[in-house]
Amino acid sequence: MLCEKCKKNEATFYYHENVNGNEKNYRLCADCANELEKSGELKTWKESVEDPFAGFGKLFTTPFKQMDKLFSGLFGAPALTGGQAKSQKQCSCGMTLRDLLDGGMAGCPDCYTTFEEELEPTVRRIHGRSSHEGRIPAKFRGKMDTKKKIEQLEKERAEAVRLENYEKAAEIRDQLNELRKTLEEGA
Protein backbone atom coordinates (compact mmCIF):
# COMPACT_ATOMS: atom_id res chain seq x y z
CA MET A 1 0.00 0.00 0.00
CA LEU A 2 1.13 3.56 -0.75
CA CYS A 3 1.93 6.23 1.80
CA GLU A 4 -1.18 8.23 2.72
CA LYS A 5 0.69 11.52 2.61
CA CYS A 6 2.93 11.58 -0.47
CA LYS A 7 1.13 8.73 -2.26
CA LYS A 8 4.47 7.91 -3.90
CA ASN A 9 6.42 5.55 -1.66
CA GLU A 10 5.46 2.22 -0.15
CA ALA A 11 3.99 2.72 3.35
CA THR A 12 6.16 0.83 5.78
CA PHE A 13 5.12 2.48 9.05
CA TYR A 14 1.83 2.01 10.74
CA TYR A 15 1.00 4.47 13.47
CA HIS A 16 -1.91 4.07 15.80
CA GLU A 17 -2.87 6.63 18.40
CA ASN A 18 -5.66 6.69 20.94
CA VAL A 19 -6.04 9.97 22.82
CA ASN A 20 -9.08 10.00 25.12
CA GLY A 21 -10.91 7.57 22.88
CA ASN A 22 -10.04 9.56 19.76
CA GLU A 23 -8.47 7.02 17.44
CA LYS A 24 -6.12 7.89 14.60
CA ASN A 25 -4.38 5.58 12.14
CA TYR A 26 -1.68 6.51 9.67
CA ARG A 27 0.09 4.46 7.05
CA LEU A 28 3.21 6.30 5.98
CA CYS A 29 6.51 5.89 4.22
CA ALA A 30 9.71 6.34 6.21
CA ASP A 31 10.38 9.86 4.82
CA CYS A 32 6.93 11.22 5.58
CA ALA A 33 6.86 9.64 9.01
CA ASN A 34 10.18 11.25 9.83
CA GLU A 35 9.02 14.64 8.57
CA LEU A 36 5.75 14.54 10.51
CA GLU A 37 7.52 13.50 13.63
CA LYS A 38 9.99 16.37 13.40
CA SER A 39 7.19 18.88 12.85
CA GLY A 40 5.47 17.51 15.95
CA GLU A 41 2.31 16.47 14.09
CA LEU A 42 2.90 12.89 15.09
CA LYS A 43 3.25 12.32 18.78
CA THR A 44 6.32 10.24 19.37
CA TRP A 45 5.85 6.64 20.41
CA LYS A 46 7.30 7.56 23.78
CA GLU A 47 4.25 9.58 24.67
CA SER A 48 1.83 7.06 23.29
CA VAL A 49 3.13 4.11 25.27
CA GLU A 50 3.01 5.13 28.90
CA ASP A 51 2.01 1.71 30.16
CA PRO A 52 4.46 -0.77 28.71
CA PHE A 53 2.15 -3.77 29.06
CA ALA A 54 -0.79 -2.01 27.43
CA GLY A 55 1.31 -0.36 24.77
CA PHE A 56 1.87 -3.13 22.29
CA GLY A 57 -0.97 -2.02 20.06
CA LYS A 58 0.51 1.42 19.62
CA LEU A 59 4.13 0.97 18.93
CA PHE A 60 4.32 1.24 15.19
CA THR A 61 5.84 4.52 14.28
CA THR A 62 8.99 5.80 12.77
CA PRO A 63 12.26 5.05 14.47
CA PHE A 64 13.87 8.41 15.14
CA LYS A 65 17.50 9.30 15.12
CA GLN A 66 18.58 8.66 18.71
CA MET A 67 16.98 5.24 18.61
CA ASP A 68 19.93 3.68 16.86
CA LYS A 69 22.22 4.76 19.66
CA LEU A 70 19.92 3.49 22.37
CA PHE A 71 19.34 0.29 20.49
CA SER A 72 23.02 -0.58 20.17
CA GLY A 73 23.36 -0.12 23.91
CA LEU A 74 20.95 -2.95 24.52
CA PHE A 75 23.23 -5.58 23.13
CA GLY A 76 26.19 -6.98 24.95
CA ALA A 77 26.97 -6.72 28.62
CA PRO A 78 27.48 -3.24 30.02
CA ALA A 79 31.17 -2.80 30.76
CA LEU A 80 32.29 -2.73 34.34
CA THR A 81 33.63 0.64 35.26
CA GLY A 82 34.67 1.88 38.61
CA GLY A 83 35.92 4.97 40.32
CA GLN A 84 37.06 2.94 43.31
CA ALA A 85 39.79 1.03 41.46
CA LYS A 86 42.38 2.40 43.87
CA SER A 87 41.98 -0.55 46.25
CA GLN A 88 44.82 -3.08 46.40
CA LYS A 89 42.47 -5.83 47.57
CA GLN A 90 43.01 -9.28 46.11
CA CYS A 91 40.78 -12.37 46.05
CA SER A 92 42.13 -15.80 47.05
CA CYS A 93 41.93 -16.78 43.36
CA GLY A 94 44.46 -14.06 42.50
CA MET A 95 41.91 -11.62 41.02
CA THR A 96 42.55 -7.95 41.75
CA LEU A 97 39.90 -5.27 41.63
CA ARG A 98 41.58 -3.68 38.61
CA ASP A 99 41.58 -6.97 36.65
CA LEU A 100 37.98 -7.55 37.60
CA LEU A 101 36.89 -4.11 36.45
CA ASP A 102 38.90 -4.36 33.22
CA GLY A 103 37.82 -7.90 32.32
CA GLY A 104 34.28 -7.74 33.62
CA MET A 105 34.28 -11.38 34.71
CA ALA A 106 34.79 -12.88 38.17
CA GLY A 107 37.74 -15.21 38.81
CA CYS A 108 35.94 -17.42 41.30
CA PRO A 109 32.73 -17.43 43.37
CA ASP A 110 34.57 -15.75 46.26
CA CYS A 111 35.31 -12.66 44.13
CA TYR A 112 31.70 -11.58 44.76
CA THR A 113 32.33 -11.63 48.53
CA THR A 114 35.81 -10.11 48.36
CA PHE A 115 34.66 -7.24 46.15
CA GLU A 116 31.01 -7.21 47.22
CA GLU A 117 30.96 -3.49 47.92
CA GLU A 118 32.98 -2.43 44.86
CA LEU A 119 30.79 -4.53 42.54
CA GLU A 120 27.50 -3.19 43.85
CA PRO A 121 27.22 -0.17 41.47
CA THR A 122 28.04 -2.36 38.45
CA VAL A 123 25.56 -5.03 39.44
CA ARG A 124 22.94 -2.37 40.01
CA ARG A 125 23.60 -0.85 36.59
CA ILE A 126 23.20 -4.22 34.88
CA HIS A 127 20.13 -5.45 36.72
CA GLY A 128 18.57 -2.31 38.17
CA ARG A 129 18.76 -4.02 41.56
CA SER A 130 21.54 -5.45 43.65
CA SER A 131 20.10 -8.16 45.82
CA HIS A 132 18.70 -11.58 45.05
CA GLU A 133 15.03 -12.52 45.19
CA GLY A 134 13.85 -16.05 44.55
CA ARG A 135 14.96 -19.59 45.07
CA ILE A 136 17.92 -20.65 47.20
CA PRO A 137 19.93 -23.91 47.14
CA ALA A 138 18.77 -26.78 49.38
CA LYS A 139 21.83 -26.51 51.63
CA PHE A 140 21.22 -22.83 52.28
CA ARG A 141 17.50 -23.42 52.77
CA GLY A 142 18.32 -25.64 55.76
CA LYS A 143 20.67 -22.97 57.09
CA MET A 144 18.09 -20.22 56.69
CA ASP A 145 15.45 -22.33 58.43
CA THR A 146 17.83 -22.99 61.35
CA LYS A 147 18.60 -19.26 61.62
CA LYS A 148 14.89 -18.45 61.78
CA LYS A 149 14.31 -21.18 64.39
CA ILE A 150 17.12 -19.77 66.55
CA GLU A 151 15.60 -16.28 66.41
CA GLN A 152 12.23 -17.66 67.42
CA LEU A 153 13.62 -19.70 70.35
CA GLU A 154 15.62 -16.72 71.62
CA LYS A 155 12.38 -14.76 71.89
CA GLU A 156 10.71 -17.65 73.71
CA ARG A 157 13.60 -17.97 76.14
CA ALA A 158 13.50 -14.25 76.97
CA GLU A 159 9.76 -14.58 77.58
CA ALA A 160 10.30 -17.60 79.88
CA VAL A 161 12.92 -15.67 81.86
CA ARG A 162 10.56 -12.71 82.16
CA LEU A 163 7.88 -15.01 83.57
CA GLU A 164 10.52 -16.54 85.91
CA ASN A 165 9.90 -19.97 84.39
CA TYR A 166 13.58 -20.97 84.73
CA GLU A 167 12.97 -24.64 84.04
CA LYS A 168 11.51 -23.88 80.63
CA ALA A 169 14.26 -21.32 79.91
CA ALA A 170 16.93 -23.95 80.57
CA GLU A 171 15.16 -26.37 78.23
CA ILE A 172 15.11 -23.79 75.45
CA ARG A 173 18.77 -22.94 76.07
CA ASP A 174 19.69 -26.61 75.48
CA GLN A 175 17.72 -26.61 72.23
CA LEU A 176 19.46 -23.39 71.15
CA ASN A 177 22.90 -24.85 71.83
CA GLU A 178 21.99 -27.87 69.74
CA LEU A 179 20.83 -25.71 66.80
CA ARG A 180 23.92 -23.45 66.96
CA LYS A 181 26.09 -26.56 66.84
CA THR A 182 24.38 -27.87 63.68
CA LEU A 183 24.71 -24.44 62.07
CA GLU A 184 28.47 -24.37 62.77
CA GLU A 185 28.95 -27.93 61.56
CA GLY A 186 27.07 -27.15 58.37
CA ALA A 187 29.25 -24.13 57.62
Binding site: M1, T12, F13, Y14, A30, W45, V49, P52, F53, G55, F56, G57, L59, F60, T61, T62, P63, M67, L70, F71, L74, F75, G76, A77, P78, L80, C93, G94, G104, M105, A106, G107, C108, P109, Y112, T113, E116, L119, T122, V123, I126, H127, G128, R129, S130, S131, H132, E133, G134, R135, I136, P137, A138, K139, F140
Partner: protein
Protein backbone atom coordinates in the same frame (compact mmCIF):
# COMPACT_ATOMS: atom_id res chain seq x y z
CA UNK B 1 13.07 -33.58 19.26
CA UNK B 2 11.43 -30.16 19.66
CA UNK B 3 11.33 -29.43 15.91
CA UNK B 4 8.76 -31.24 13.82
CA UNK B 5 6.40 -31.33 16.82
CA UNK B 6 3.40 -29.01 17.07
CA UNK B 7 3.46 -26.60 20.01
CA UNK B 8 1.24 -23.86 21.47
CA UNK B 9 0.63 -20.75 19.34
CA UNK B 10 2.63 -22.33 16.56
CA UNK B 11 1.33 -19.80 14.02
CA UNK B 12 3.82 -17.31 15.53
CA UNK B 13 5.91 -19.15 18.13
CA UNK B 14 8.70 -21.52 17.12
CA UNK B 15 10.21 -22.67 20.41
CA UNK B 16 10.68 -21.87 24.09
CA UNK B 17 14.00 -22.33 25.84
CA UNK B 18 15.09 -22.06 29.47
CA UNK B 19 18.74 -21.88 30.47
CA UNK B 20 19.90 -22.13 34.06
CA UNK B 21 23.51 -21.20 34.99
CA UNK B 22 25.09 -22.84 38.04
CA UNK B 23 28.60 -23.09 39.49
CA UNK B 24 30.24 -25.33 42.06
CA UNK B 25 31.43 -23.71 45.27
CA UNK B 26 35.19 -23.80 45.78
CA UNK B 27 36.20 -23.87 42.10
CA UNK B 28 37.47 -20.92 40.06
CA UNK B 29 36.06 -19.89 36.66
CA UNK B 30 37.29 -20.06 33.06
CA UNK B 31 41.04 -19.69 32.53
CA UNK B 32 41.75 -20.20 36.23
CA UNK B 33 40.67 -23.86 35.99
CA UNK B 34 43.49 -26.31 35.28
CA UNK B 35 42.87 -29.74 33.70
CA UNK B 36 42.80 -31.55 37.05
CA UNK B 37 40.13 -29.20 38.41
CA UNK B 38 38.10 -29.48 35.20
CA UNK B 39 38.13 -33.26 35.60
CA UNK B 40 36.96 -32.96 39.21
CA UNK B 41 34.07 -30.72 38.16
CA UNK B 42 33.00 -33.12 35.40
CA UNK B 43 33.08 -36.04 37.86
CA UNK B 44 31.00 -34.16 40.44
CA UNK B 45 28.40 -33.13 37.89
CA UNK B 46 28.19 -36.62 36.38
CA UNK B 47 27.09 -37.83 39.81
CA UNK B 48 24.03 -35.58 39.60
CA UNK B 49 22.87 -37.05 36.29
CA UNK B 50 23.00 -40.78 36.88
CA UNK B 51 20.91 -43.43 35.17
CA UNK B 52 20.00 -44.72 31.73
CA UNK B 53 18.08 -41.63 30.68
CA UNK B 54 21.26 -39.50 30.56
CA UNK B 55 23.81 -39.70 27.77
CA UNK B 56 27.33 -38.29 28.20
CA UNK B 57 29.33 -36.93 25.29
CA UNK B 58 32.90 -35.72 25.40
CA UNK B 59 32.61 -32.67 23.13
CA UNK B 60 36.08 -33.17 21.66
CA UNK B 61 34.99 -36.60 20.34
CA UNK B 62 32.56 -34.92 17.92
CA UNK B 63 33.35 -33.50 14.48
CA UNK B 64 33.11 -29.76 13.87
CA UNK B 65 29.89 -30.32 11.85
CA UNK B 66 28.33 -32.42 14.63
CA UNK B 67 29.09 -29.75 17.22
CA UNK B 68 27.81 -26.88 15.09
CA UNK B 69 24.72 -28.92 14.27
CA UNK B 70 23.89 -29.16 17.98
CA UNK B 71 24.03 -25.35 18.08
CA UNK B 72 22.01 -25.02 14.81
CA UNK B 73 19.29 -27.08 16.43
CA UNK B 74 19.42 -24.81 19.53
CA UNK B 75 20.35 -27.69 21.84
CA UNK B 76 23.62 -26.03 22.96
CA UNK B 77 25.14 -22.56 22.69
CA UNK B 78 27.34 -21.46 19.78
CA UNK B 79 30.15 -20.77 22.30
CA UNK B 80 29.98 -24.29 23.69
CA UNK B 81 30.12 -25.74 20.16
CA UNK B 82 33.23 -23.68 19.47
CA UNK B 83 35.39 -24.71 22.47
CA UNK B 84 35.23 -28.50 22.78
CA UNK B 85 38.49 -29.13 24.70
CA UNK B 86 37.78 -30.68 28.09
CA UNK B 87 34.04 -30.02 28.02
CA UNK B 88 31.13 -32.42 28.30
CA UNK B 89 27.52 -32.55 27.12
CA UNK B 90 24.89 -34.45 29.10
CA UNK B 91 21.59 -35.06 27.30
CA UNK B 92 18.34 -36.79 28.19
CA UNK B 93 16.74 -39.28 25.78
CA UNK B 94 14.43 -36.78 24.09
CA UNK B 95 17.28 -34.26 23.87
CA UNK B 96 14.98 -31.60 25.27
CA UNK B 97 17.27 -31.21 28.29
CA UNK B 98 20.92 -30.53 27.45
CA UNK B 99 23.47 -29.92 30.18
CA UNK B 100 26.63 -28.09 29.10
CA UNK B 101 29.49 -28.80 31.49
CA UNK B 102 32.27 -26.20 31.52
CA UNK B 103 30.67 -23.66 29.23
CA UNK B 104 31.13 -20.07 30.49
CA UNK B 105 29.78 -21.32 33.83
CA UNK B 106 30.58 -24.71 35.32
CA UNK B 107 27.10 -25.92 34.39
CA UNK B 108 24.44 -24.62 32.06
CA UNK B 109 21.21 -26.57 31.90
CA UNK B 110 19.16 -25.87 28.80
CA UNK B 111 15.67 -27.12 28.02
CA UNK B 112 13.78 -26.57 24.79
CA UNK B 113 10.16 -27.28 23.81
CA UNK B 114 8.14 -26.48 20.67
CA UNK B 115 5.90 -23.39 20.48
CA UNK B 116 5.18 -20.90 23.27
CA UNK B 117 5.28 -22.96 26.46
CA UNK B 118 7.30 -21.35 29.23
CA UNK B 119 5.76 -23.60 31.86
CA UNK B 120 6.93 -26.93 30.45
CA UNK B 121 10.36 -25.58 29.49
CA UNK B 122 10.77 -24.33 33.08
CA UNK B 123 9.60 -27.64 34.54
CA UNK B 124 12.13 -29.61 32.52
CA UNK B 125 15.06 -27.31 33.34
CA UNK B 126 14.15 -27.04 37.01
CA UNK B 127 13.83 -30.82 37.39
CA UNK B 128 17.39 -31.19 36.10
CA UNK B 129 18.55 -28.31 38.31
CA UNK B 130 17.05 -30.04 41.36
CA UNK B 131 19.23 -33.11 40.68
CA UNK B 132 22.29 -30.89 40.54
CA UNK B 133 21.29 -29.08 43.73
CA UNK B 134 20.90 -32.40 45.51
CA UNK B 135 24.26 -33.82 44.44
CA UNK B 136 26.54 -30.77 44.44
CA UNK B 137 27.58 -27.85 46.57
CA UNK B 138 26.35 -24.87 44.54
CA UNK B 139 28.01 -21.42 44.71
CA UNK B 140 25.52 -19.01 46.26
CA UNK B 141 25.55 -15.75 48.18
CA UNK B 142 22.72 -14.28 50.21
CA UNK B 143 23.22 -10.94 48.48
CA UNK B 144 23.82 -11.90 44.84
CA UNK B 145 21.98 -15.24 44.74
CA UNK B 146 23.37 -17.93 42.44
CA UNK B 147 26.94 -16.96 41.61
CA UNK B 148 27.95 -16.84 37.95
CA UNK B 149 31.19 -16.18 36.05
CA UNK B 150 29.74 -13.02 34.49
CA UNK B 151 27.77 -10.58 36.68
CA UNK B 152 25.07 -10.33 33.97
CA UNK B 153 23.75 -13.76 35.03
CA UNK B 154 23.72 -13.32 38.83
CA UNK B 155 20.60 -13.93 40.90
CA UNK B 156 18.36 -16.67 39.57
CA UNK B 157 20.84 -17.50 36.78
CA UNK B 158 17.79 -18.13 34.61
CA UNK B 159 17.32 -16.99 31.05
CA UNK B 160 13.98 -17.71 29.37
CA UNK B 161 13.93 -17.26 25.63
CA UNK B 162 10.99 -17.52 23.24
CA UNK B 163 11.68 -17.77 19.53
CA UNK B 164 9.09 -16.05 17.35
CA UNK B 165 8.49 -15.59 13.65
CA UNK B 166 7.55 -11.91 13.25
CA UNK B 167 7.28 -11.08 9.55
CA UNK B 168 4.48 -8.52 9.99
CA UNK B 169 6.17 -6.71 12.89
CA UNK B 170 9.35 -6.54 10.81
CA UNK B 171 7.54 -5.27 7.72
CA UNK B 172 5.75 -2.64 9.79
CA UNK B 173 9.13 -1.41 11.11
CA UNK B 174 8.14 -2.15 14.69
CA UNK B 175 11.13 -4.15 15.92
CA UNK B 176 13.24 -1.24 17.17
CA UNK B 177 10.37 0.31 19.09
CA UNK B 178 9.64 -3.10 20.53
CA UNK B 179 13.28 -3.45 21.60
CA UNK B 180 13.09 -0.17 23.50
CA UNK B 181 9.90 -1.13 25.27
CA UNK B 182 11.29 -4.52 26.19
CA UNK B 183 14.43 -2.91 27.62
CA UNK B 184 12.29 -0.98 30.10
CA UNK B 185 10.98 -4.30 31.37
CA UNK B 186 14.43 -5.89 31.65
CA UNK B 187 13.78 -7.91 28.49
CA UNK B 188 15.56 -8.01 25.16
CA UNK B 189 15.01 -9.00 21.51
CA UNK B 190 17.72 -10.52 19.34
CA UNK B 191 18.17 -12.41 16.08
CA UNK B 192 17.71 -16.16 16.13
CA UNK B 193 21.34 -16.97 16.76
CA UNK B 194 21.89 -14.81 19.81
CA UNK B 195 23.72 -11.58 20.45
CA UNK B 196 24.30 -9.38 17.45
CA UNK B 197 23.06 -11.96 14.96
CA UNK B 198 21.18 -11.02 11.82
CA UNK B 199 17.44 -11.61 12.14
CA UNK B 200 17.25 -13.65 8.94
CA UNK B 201 13.95 -15.31 8.18
CA UNK B 202 12.23 -12.70 10.43
CA UNK B 203 13.01 -14.90 13.41
CA UNK B 204 13.65 -13.28 16.78
CA UNK B 205 14.30 -14.39 20.33
CA UNK B 206 12.70 -12.54 23.20
CA UNK B 207 14.36 -13.14 26.54
CA UNK B 208 15.02 -11.62 29.93
CA UNK B 209 18.13 -9.46 30.27
CA UNK B 210 17.78 -9.06 34.03
CA UNK B 211 18.34 -12.07 36.27
CA UNK B 212 18.87 -10.45 39.68
CA UNK B 213 16.18 -9.16 42.04
CA UNK B 214 13.32 -10.83 40.16
CA UNK B 215 11.91 -14.13 41.39
CA UNK B 216 11.46 -17.10 39.06
CA UNK B 217 7.68 -16.73 39.25
CA UNK B 218 7.77 -13.00 38.46
CA UNK B 219 10.05 -13.69 35.52
CA UNK B 220 7.74 -16.37 34.11
CA UNK B 221 4.72 -14.11 34.53
CA UNK B 222 6.38 -11.11 32.93
CA UNK B 223 7.60 -13.00 29.89
CA UNK B 224 4.32 -14.88 29.52
CA UNK B 225 2.38 -11.60 29.43
CA UNK B 226 4.71 -9.75 27.12
CA UNK B 227 5.28 -12.58 24.65
CA UNK B 228 1.56 -13.37 24.70
CA UNK B 229 0.86 -9.76 23.68
CA UNK B 230 3.45 -9.80 20.91
CA UNK B 231 1.97 -13.02 19.51
CA UNK B 232 -1.52 -11.51 19.54
CA UNK B 233 -0.23 -8.39 17.83
CA UNK B 234 1.54 -10.33 15.07
CA UNK B 235 -1.56 -12.49 14.61
CA UNK B 236 -3.81 -9.45 14.30
CA UNK B 237 -1.62 -8.20 11.45
CA UNK B 238 -2.09 -11.51 9.65
CA UNK B 239 -5.84 -11.16 10.06
CA UNK B 240 -5.95 -7.52 8.97
CA UNK B 241 -3.84 -7.93 5.82
CA UNK B 242 -5.57 -6.65 2.69
CA UNK B 243 -6.77 -8.83 -0.17
CA UNK B 244 -4.03 -7.65 -2.54
CA UNK B 245 -1.32 -8.56 -0.05
CA UNK B 246 -2.90 -11.93 0.65
CA UNK B 247 -3.17 -12.75 -3.03
CA UNK B 248 0.50 -11.87 -3.62
CA UNK B 249 1.57 -13.84 -0.58
CA UNK B 250 -0.36 -16.92 -1.68
CA UNK B 251 1.16 -16.74 -5.15
CA UNK B 252 4.70 -16.38 -3.72
CA UNK B 253 4.14 -19.25 -1.32
CA UNK B 254 2.91 -21.54 -4.09
CA UNK B 255 5.91 -20.69 -6.28
CA UNK B 256 8.26 -21.34 -3.35
CA UNK B 257 6.61 -24.66 -2.66
CA UNK B 258 7.17 -25.56 -6.30
CA UNK B 259 10.88 -24.81 -5.93
CA UNK B 260 11.08 -26.95 -2.80
CA UNK B 261 9.33 -29.88 -4.48
CA UNK B 262 11.12 -29.87 -7.82
CA UNK B 263 14.64 -28.45 -7.44
CA UNK B 264 17.79 -30.52 -7.47
CA UNK B 265 19.83 -27.99 -5.48
CA UNK B 266 18.75 -25.51 -2.81
CA UNK B 267 21.04 -23.19 -0.80
CA UNK B 268 20.51 -22.57 2.89
CA UNK B 269 19.90 -18.85 2.22
CA UNK B 270 17.06 -19.77 -0.17
CA UNK B 271 15.50 -21.95 2.51
CA UNK B 272 15.61 -19.10 5.03
CA UNK B 273 13.88 -16.72 2.61
CA UNK B 274 11.27 -19.24 1.49
CA UNK B 275 10.69 -20.31 5.07
CA UNK B 276 9.41 -16.88 6.08
CA UNK B 277 7.06 -16.56 3.09
CA UNK B 278 5.69 -20.08 3.48
CA UNK B 279 5.29 -19.78 7.23
CA UNK B 280 3.43 -16.47 6.99
CA UNK B 281 1.19 -17.89 4.24
CA UNK B 282 0.47 -20.96 6.40
CA UNK B 283 -0.24 -18.82 9.49
CA UNK B 284 -2.55 -16.58 7.45
CA UNK B 285 -4.55 -19.64 6.35
CA UNK B 286 -3.51 -19.26 2.69
CA UNK B 287 -1.79 -22.64 2.34
CA UNK B 288 -2.06 -25.82 4.36
CA UNK B 289 1.58 -26.57 5.27
CA UNK B 290 2.04 -27.32 8.99
CA UNK B 291 4.33 -24.69 10.59
CA UNK B 292 6.23 -27.30 12.60
CA UNK B 293 7.29 -29.03 9.37
CA UNK B 294 8.64 -25.73 8.06
CA UNK B 295 10.55 -25.22 11.33
CA UNK B 296 11.99 -28.71 10.99
CA UNK B 297 13.07 -27.95 7.42
CA UNK B 298 14.73 -24.69 8.47
CA UNK B 299 16.64 -26.26 11.34
CA UNK B 300 17.74 -29.35 9.42
CA UNK B 301 18.77 -27.27 6.39
CA UNK B 302 21.60 -25.51 8.22
CA UNK B 303 24.93 -26.41 6.55
CA UNK B 304 26.39 -28.17 9.61
CA UNK B 305 23.25 -30.20 10.21
CA UNK B 306 23.03 -31.29 6.56
CA UNK B 307 26.66 -32.37 6.83
CA UNK B 308 26.17 -34.11 10.19
CA UNK B 309 23.08 -36.01 8.96
CA UNK B 310 24.47 -37.12 5.58
CA UNK B 311 27.62 -39.20 5.37
CA UNK B 312 30.17 -37.99 2.83
CA UNK B 313 28.40 -34.67 2.17
CA UNK B 314 31.05 -31.98 2.68
CA UNK B 315 31.06 -29.65 -0.34
CA UNK B 316 28.56 -26.79 -0.78
CA UNK B 317 27.20 -28.43 -3.94
CA UNK B 318 26.64 -31.78 -2.22
CA UNK B 319 24.93 -29.99 0.65
CA UNK B 320 22.61 -28.14 -1.77
CA UNK B 321 21.61 -31.48 -3.33
CA UNK B 322 21.06 -33.12 0.06
CA UNK B 323 18.98 -30.11 1.11
CA UNK B 324 16.69 -30.43 -1.93
CA UNK B 325 16.08 -34.08 -1.01
CA UNK B 326 15.49 -33.14 2.59
CA UNK B 327 12.79 -30.64 1.54
CA UNK B 328 10.90 -33.38 -0.29
CA UNK B 329 11.39 -35.80 2.61
CA UNK B 330 9.89 -33.35 5.11
CA UNK B 331 7.20 -31.67 3.00
CA UNK B 332 6.62 -34.21 0.22
CA UNK B 333 3.48 -35.68 1.80
CA UNK B 334 1.89 -32.24 2.20
CA UNK B 335 -0.50 -30.73 -0.30
CA UNK B 336 -0.97 -27.00 -0.24
Amino acid sequence: MWYGTKGNDSDVAISTRVRIARNLAGYPFGDRLDDAKKKEIIEKIDKAFKGKEWKYTDMSSLTEAQRQSLADRHLISREFAGCPAGTQLIQNKDQDVNVMVLEEDHVRIQSIVPGFDIRSAMEKAEAAEAKLDEACDIAYSEKYGYITHCPTNLGTGIRISVMLHLPAYTRAGGIKALALQLAKLGLTIRGADGEGSDPSGNIYQISNQVTLGVTEDELVERLSNVVGNIIKEERSFHEKAGEEFRSDLRENARRNFGILMFSERISSREITDMYSTLRLAASSGLIKLPQEKLDELLVRSMPSTVEAEHKGVTTPEARDRARAELAREILGESAI
